[in-house]
Amino acid sequence: MKQWKFLILGWFAVLLAGCATVDKSVLMTPPAVKTGDVVFKTAMVENEDAFAAGKEAAEALAAKLGGTVPHAVLMVDCFDSLGSKKKALAGVTSVFGAEKIFGGAVYGMYTQDGASDVDTVSLLALAGNGLQVQAALTENMGSKGLTIENDEPALSAALGAGGAAVAQQLPNIGKSDLVILMGDAHSPKNQYLIDGLQTVAGKNVPVTGGSISKNDGLTFVYYRGKMYSDAAFALTLNGGLSIGQAGRQAKSNDEVISTANEGATTALKALGSVKPAALIAFDCAGRMGKLDNLSDEVTTIKTTMSPAVPIFGCYCAGEFGPADTTIEKSDSVSTGRGWHAMFSALGK
């Protein structure tokens, strides 16, 4: 019954989305070349001047890409005002244009070059002719101001419909190599959003992603270079990728570091003989708060792989990915959780 409710609401949302402007349109890049390359590059810049942070990060990313044009760029930032977020976004779009920019507001981030939790933009380029990227947005989900304590039925329906609406716009989402889901649905609400997505995509497709910052006035998802609140998007990756995933929960400094090492190792091992091309981590801001030294988590992650493998991590208000199998069993490949680091190793 719950699934039908989500599906009906989802189709209704899709009908409404028919009025969407080009900026909100579904992204669909050309099909992946079977033997083609996949390219992942990251760049991160801290700068009190938000526009400069965005522009410098984008320019650094473009330089790393050489002449390769990205299909999409995942952008996260931890500026703490609407004005600075707009400027950061403008800085990034000044280099790559708006159409390719997806992401959201987070609490902190890390790459192979370090970690930051203040005035920073971090970018992940998704590129290569061996990769196909699709993305779709749902906005005005109707979850704003609703709480689990007081409004659980309405909240689960709104977020469930939002998750379903996103998935409905992406053909064959259930056969994706990996789905990246980001939305305005902090833990534990985030389970409702992925529940909705899974009514369309099924429970076997690997999903990762994060809930954007829940800080007042900062709850923004970025989609095609524009900012949306009470919104979510899904971005699918296809191209015969191998995906290794692991989720690990921790609530103390030592456990955050040890589970990061063990989780990253497990995700990388799951690739088998496939060489890793990137490690993506959607991590919990609660875990970040427990770190005595912010860079300790990424430092231990780096020890698990070749320094040539790009790392893109961000601290969110909830995470999507596999539940920590060391503490719970789930009937779904991917879940919405809190206090987790969700690792996805990608290779081809």
């Binding site: 800080n215 609530k251 609660g286 708060g289």
Partner: protein, 346 residues
Amino acid sequence: MSNRKFLYPLIYCTLTAALSVGAADLQIRPKNFIVTPSTGPVAEIIVRNNASAPYSGTVTPTYPDGWQVAPLAQPLKLAGGESKVLSFAVEKGLDRKANDYPVSIAANGYETLTAEVLCASTPFYKPKIDGKFDEWSDAIPVMFITNGKKTVVRSYWNKAQFCLAVEVEEDALTGLADATEASGADAIQFALSPGKSKTADSFDGSSVRYEFVVAASGSRWKGDKCFKLMNSGDSLSVAAEARELQPLLLEEAEVKVKRADGITRYELTVPMKPMKPLRATAGREYCFSLLVHDPDGTGVRDMGTVMNLNEATRIPQAWCNWKFAKWNGIVPFDNKVEFGFCSSVH
């Protein structure tokens, strides 16, 4: 006095903490929740064996109805004089608007301890400092009663500011403009420190805190003012001096003090950037303690009285003296009560 004058009236009784903590050789203290229970924090319990003989037993906490906490109990072995922190993961917790969480803790051989535990957390928000309190409904209130008079403390943080709103029920307000050596001055005094930091054992040590006093100041001071009593790294020796406030003026602070219906309302921000060691970010623990000076009424009020603290943590070097402060022999609790910075509540 009508409860409606306070946004979130709570019932906290200093007597509860005094009766339930530290009465036996095994001293047990449930720590405050530093993020909201619904986000699944770790509930910590500090246990200290004050006896010379070792202790061996099991500690079994009980949290509010409907909560799921793991493990349900933990074995504990303590040598004489040893203390440990036991951690229990809150797998499912429910927030209570009244911010009162009844907890009981059983340990073999000892009477079960009961206590009201607070969520001592500071949400993200940027309030406008205008003396109105309409933006503070999403802050998590801490209320305490001293000699029948209520104090309600709310806090917010953002990357630029630490923000406070304090409601003080008192018969009269004596600001700095009218204060004399004899009358003393009404004020609030608070201290911020990095999480898990400790106050030095004597006045010979160095400060790890940022301490402020805020008072209605009138035209003599060109508006209500905040004074910085201590920086991290300062010598604690100055804490005992009854210093003049004027040289300690913190120009960057925003302060409004208003009084109506028998309640004095302090609303203020102090800049966060000079306090980098606090490393303010969602989920980060820090220390926050607050006193109210009401010399013509209740005397010194201490928020520490509702934090389940042990009497042994009253130490004179924990708070700075200042001109017009009237302590009347009271030594407040240490200024290192655990709080947390959290994301916005709604």
